[in-house]
């Protein structure tokens, strides 16, 4: 019995079916607790005023936008090395979730930037990197939808994901080199003194967990859909042969 057995499509469907509602439920719970706490029961920041409430959407969305790509990278590697179909499908399923998170991070960032930095958009390295990440997601999804044969599509998108990851990191540092940023340094690292204060940190942590669980829920759900779609295709093909 190895871990990889859970990646068998049939096994995957069997174990995700009972797990999914629990994950979805806890995502909903964390999100509502975190967001309600953050929105209604936190004080205003003494410098940023009430705009600090945007943090409960902006930071978790940005976090998940990057983690979704990381997950796609790992899933692509697993597909290329071990040829588990579920892994390729999970990468495919994660892309739309990731692009939505990127959009949310960009939109809330623009809305947050307008009162604090006095502009909706600035070619700040982090903003630029997210825009580039958005383009990478677009290309990745376009490649998936352009290729008919599922195995070819999985192979090519995996290769693109690997190369894209290298270039995404390169772009991030190139952008840093190219323009000085408006973003503050790290504010969530564990050992810094200038971190955000606990009043904001506690609900933020809960929303971050909530966004993570939401991502997991959506990826599981979408992967299940992809597996079913694959099965329909296979059954059709079998019927045509018979």
């Amino acid at each position: 019995m190895s871990l990889w057995e859970y990646a068998n499509p049939k096994k995957f469907m069997d174990w995700t079916a009972p797990v999914l509602p629990w994950v979805a439920g806890s995502a909903a719970l964390c999100l509502s607790v975190g967001l309600i706490w953050g929105f209604f029961f936190t004080p205003d920041d003494f410098r940023q005023g009430s705009t600090v409430k945007i943090i409960y959407l902006h930071v978790p969305a940005a976090l998940m936008a990057i983690n979704a790509w990381l997950m796609m990278l790992v899933a692509s590697l697993i597909w290329l090395v071990r040829r588990h179909h579920v892994s390729a499908l999970a990468a495919k399923a994660a892309a739309p979730v990731g692009i939505t998170m990127t959009l949310i991070a960009l939109a809330t960032g623009a809305l947050w930037g307008s009162p604090i930095w006095g502009t909706y958009w600035e070619w700040d390295p982090r903003l630029t990197s997210f825009l580039i990440l958005f383009l990478f997601y677009l290309g990745y999804m376009a490649l998936w939808s352009a290729i008919e044969d599922p195995d070819t599509a999985a192979d090519l998108t995996s290769i693109l994901c690997l190369v894209g990851s290298i270039f995404a990191i390169l772009s991030r540092y190139a952008a840093q080199f190219w323009s000085q940023g408006l973003h503050q340094g790290a504010s969530l690292s564990l050992d810094k003194e200038e971190n955000v204060s606990d009043v904001f940190w506690q609900p933020l942590l809960i929303t971050m967990i909530g966004f993570g669980l939401l991502f997991l829920t959506l990826v599981l759900l979408r992967t299940r859909t992809e597996i079913r779609m694959r099965r329909i295709k296979a059954l059709h093909a079998r019927a045509r042969r018979a």
Binding site: A142, T152, I159, V163, S171
Partner: protein, 218 residues
Amino acid sequence: MKALLLRDLRLAIRAGGGFGLGLAFFLIVVVLVPFGVGPDADLLSIIAPGILWVAALLAALLSLDRIFALDFEDGSLGLLATSPLPLESVSVIKAFAHWITTGLPLCFAAPVLGFLLHLSSDAYTLLILSLLIGTPALSMIGTFGAALTVGLRRGGLLLSLLVLPLYVPTLIMGADAVRRGADGMAATTPLMLLGVITLGSIAVLPFATAAALRVNLR
């Protein structure tokens, strides 16, 4: 290896091979910009480095889909895959041929067009240098994109969507080197980083390109 390179060059130069098309495109884009932003010489000289680099990038993009498409259609790519020459080398040679037919002419055409855009006189050497260092990366990345989309019937548009985000670091460093030259600052750092990108692309991407080709030839 040499035979393949010569064959590719000959095919590109022959009529309909697209040689010169990229150059003409480069010229037209650069000429169009002043019509768009107005004839103000000061403004043009500020944006000239960026315009020249973006136009070079678009011109390099134009001929990418021809790198593998013709060979894929007539089956010679399949022959190349079974030949003793590994596909990794094939992709490097293809990228090199693409660079000679588009990147290299661009390097020499750019100073002439820089003149049209009132590029600061200090920046010419850096313009040529940065293009010489940077355009091989454009060709190599483009070859990778072409390998990904070679099996698709209408891959051209998708190819640009895939390749353009990959061009971002090269563009940033290249244009920055020229801009620093125009401002009279030292440009060694961006040039060296540009070299890093180019060498890194040539070191890594042939393997990815060959892998993509193998998938598409399956």
